[in-house]
Amino acid sequence: MENLRKIWTIAYRELYSTFTQPSLLAIMFAAPLIVATIISLAFGSGGSPTIENIPVAIVNLDEGADGLNSGQIFVNAFVPGAAETSGEVSQQTCDVTVSDTSGAQTSLFDLTDAVLLDDPAEARAGVDAGDYAAAIIIPADFTQSTTYSQEHQEINPTPIEVYGDSGRTITPGVIHSIVESITNRLLTGQITVAATIDTMIARAQADPIFGLQFATAGSDFQPNFACAFTGVMNNIRIEQQSIAGEQVDFNVLVAIGSAQAVFFALFTANGGATSILEDRRNWTLQRMIVSPTPRVVILLGKLVGTFTTVLVQLVFLFIGFTIINSFIEGQLTFLWGTNWIALIVLLLATALAASGVGMITAAVGKTAEQANIIGSIISILMGMLGGAFFQVQALGSFEFITYFSIVRWGSEAFSKLAAGNGDIGVNVIFLTLIGTLLFAISLWVFNRRQDI
């Protein structure tokens, strides 16, 4: 009990000193908002971001059936000019329009930047390397499984594989739902045609003249599936994953803002933790040590103080970004989603991880100045690596190195929440573990230190 009170006393002193220092507050709160907004405005397109050119690989393994290749329909829909080079006479280019729940419309050709590949393994590897957001792999028996005939009356399509990049928050989801949409249209078309053929066959049986005509038409009778999408049907509506969601993901303010927030949180944590070395310099640490206060209590007090400061800072920054974004968009939008519990848990985990990083520099540093320099270098490296200054996707196949930075772990999860994706468990666990581990190491080092 007494020790708990002491922890709070130490933490409170820390908070008091921090929050009565105007210059520090400016760095903690104003700087990240300003920097992130400037970077976002420089990179982004302000309030109405458009997404374009999601990199997609498409592999058509479909062997077709009866001279028909349904898989090619997907290729045509995604790859401009594919129809002309496919050699399939029945095919034609179709420009599919994608619209989201908000009504925004985009041409599928603009939305994606699709490449036709032959090898599914190559396509998946490309996704793993970050070259593509998703790979669409059309199975060999796709046409077969969707063809309606008298022998094959049940349409039970072999699913098309959409292999997504787990590192991207929702682009694979968008591709997935587009593929699903097109498949549905295709099946609808097939059934309509099949029903028509059934009707014709029935009529031919009843009407010999028509039957004769029908039979002599022979191979000329080829239903044209190339654009099963004409007129109204040419417009795909995506319900599950809105493009607006994707736009938020590409809202630079989310990506840069969350990374900047975590980046500045590292600085704050570092400053908070190195206050223990300032305490050493002005002998207040020694005074605490000669009082009946165990060292672990002193360090916990510092941790709680640092943690709380960082948490307050993060909350403030995320509210700040929401306000800035709402101004840009002209209406109140919850930039970070509305999964409040996930958001709170993530904020706590991020603050803990940042505090842990700060603690370790304080535990090994000789002086406050030295620890601040080490801490700044670590913060800047993590910030650069973690996407505080550019979008991590720009690193392509080297994107994995960004996971050395807790800035990446944090901002990735915040971006997911912003996109309405609550799948942040791994990030939260990682951040919590790293924070706890670093604190445990600092405690061990600090307890063994003799040069107090």
Partner: protein
């Protein structure tokens, strides 16, 4: 008499930057009795702070241990620390907090709180005479005021024992006087036990019930001021300043023969030591004041003009000089 602090064989080795070791404290034994002012007197670098750091639980001794009220500082540090207040040599305060906030913070580190702490802070502010400046930030204070707050923090939890490490360093005579008076009050009014370190012989001599003289990490003498002086003999020094005049050696030789109680006499011409601008006749006598009239008479007969006369009673300075062959001051 009850022993409150009992240190045995305290040794502290430090690693220097170049990797070599220095032994800052070389096996110190201390017994501080309840209710006394014990001073540790020694020049800069003697090991006073290092010793205090070990017996307050700030530094782990390389070897040896100390018991505070029966509790081992290395094995039962929390119990031992509760008994003591510490006034470090450095100003150990948060500069951006006010005097009151500092007292409040450290009071809580001793487990105090609430109305009791507030009342105690008022008492301490009274004692250190800073009630009117209590709300001001410490970094706006003068050196003397900071020193007083520094002492106040050590007194907050009403410890029965207080360590004060050179609490008068670098302050003006007025503030120094105030602090010395406070230290005496702590013993006399509050029945506290005080361990006081200093490199100033006068302070030690004025305050202490007992003194330990420390040099190069070793206690070289310990006892009451009187006992220590007795160790070097009880002779007074009579110093006659005679300016630029020269003096016959036969006259110097006459002095111990003719004046009763004088053991020896010497002449130091001007410029011999330090910044001395006047020649000095130095006469050692068991009871200096008694020998003085006769001495002046002899000087008059020899037509010596005496500029000033000084009687120096034996002091700790002399003890230190006697034991180490060096002056305490440098």
């Amino acid at each position: 008499m009850e022993t409150l602090v009992e240190a045995r064989g305290l040794v502290k080795n430090f690693k220097r930057k170049d990797g070599t070791e220095v032994q800052a404290v070389k096996g110190v034994n201390l017994d501080i009795q309840k209710g006394e002012i014990f001073s540790l007197l020694g020049p800069n670098g003697a090991g006073k702070t290092t010793t205090i750091s070990m017996i307050s639980g700030l530094l782990t001794p390389t070897s040896g241990d100390a018991r505070i009220g029966g509790f081992s500082i290395t094995k039962q540090p929390m119990e031992a620390k509760r008994l003591m207040g510490v006034v470090p040599q450095e100003i150990a305060l948060y500069p951006t907090l006010s005097a009151r906030q500092n007292l409040n913070f450290f009071g809580r580190m001793y487990g105090m709180g609430g109305a009791e702490l507030n009342k105690r802070i008022d008492e301490v502010l009274d004692l250190i005479d800073l009630k009117d400046r209590q709300k001001d930030k410490v970094d706006t204070f003068s050196g003397g005021m900071k020193r007083r707050v520094n002492i106040g923090v050590g007194l907050l939890h009403r410890p029965q024992l207080i360590y004060m490490d050179e609490p008068t360093v670098g302050i003006d005579p007025q503030n120094r006087r105030r602090i010395l008076d406070t230290v005496l009050r702590l013993r006399d009014e509050y029945k506290m036990t005080v361990l006081y370190t200093t490199h100033l012989m006068e302070e030690s001599q004025e305050l202490s019930d007992r003194v330990g003289i420390i040099d190069h990490g070793e206690i070289i003498a310990m006892g009451t001021v009187g006992e220590l002086i007795q160790q070097v003999g009880e002779e007074d020094q009579l110093v006659l300043k005679i300016g630029e005049q020269t003096i016959d050696t036969s006259l110097i030789e006459r002095i111990p023969k003719e004046i009763q109680g004088v053991t020896r006499a010497a002449f130091e011409p001007p410029g011999e030591t330090g910044d001395q601008t006047s020649g000095e006749v130095i006469v050692y006598a068991k009871r200096g004041r008694k020998a003085l009239p006769h001495l002046i008479q002899i000087a008059n007969e020899a037509a010596l003009e005496i500029m000033s006369v000084e009687v120096r009673e034996p002091d700790l300075e002399a003890v230190f000089l006697h034991m180490t062959g060096r002056a305490l001051r440098d």
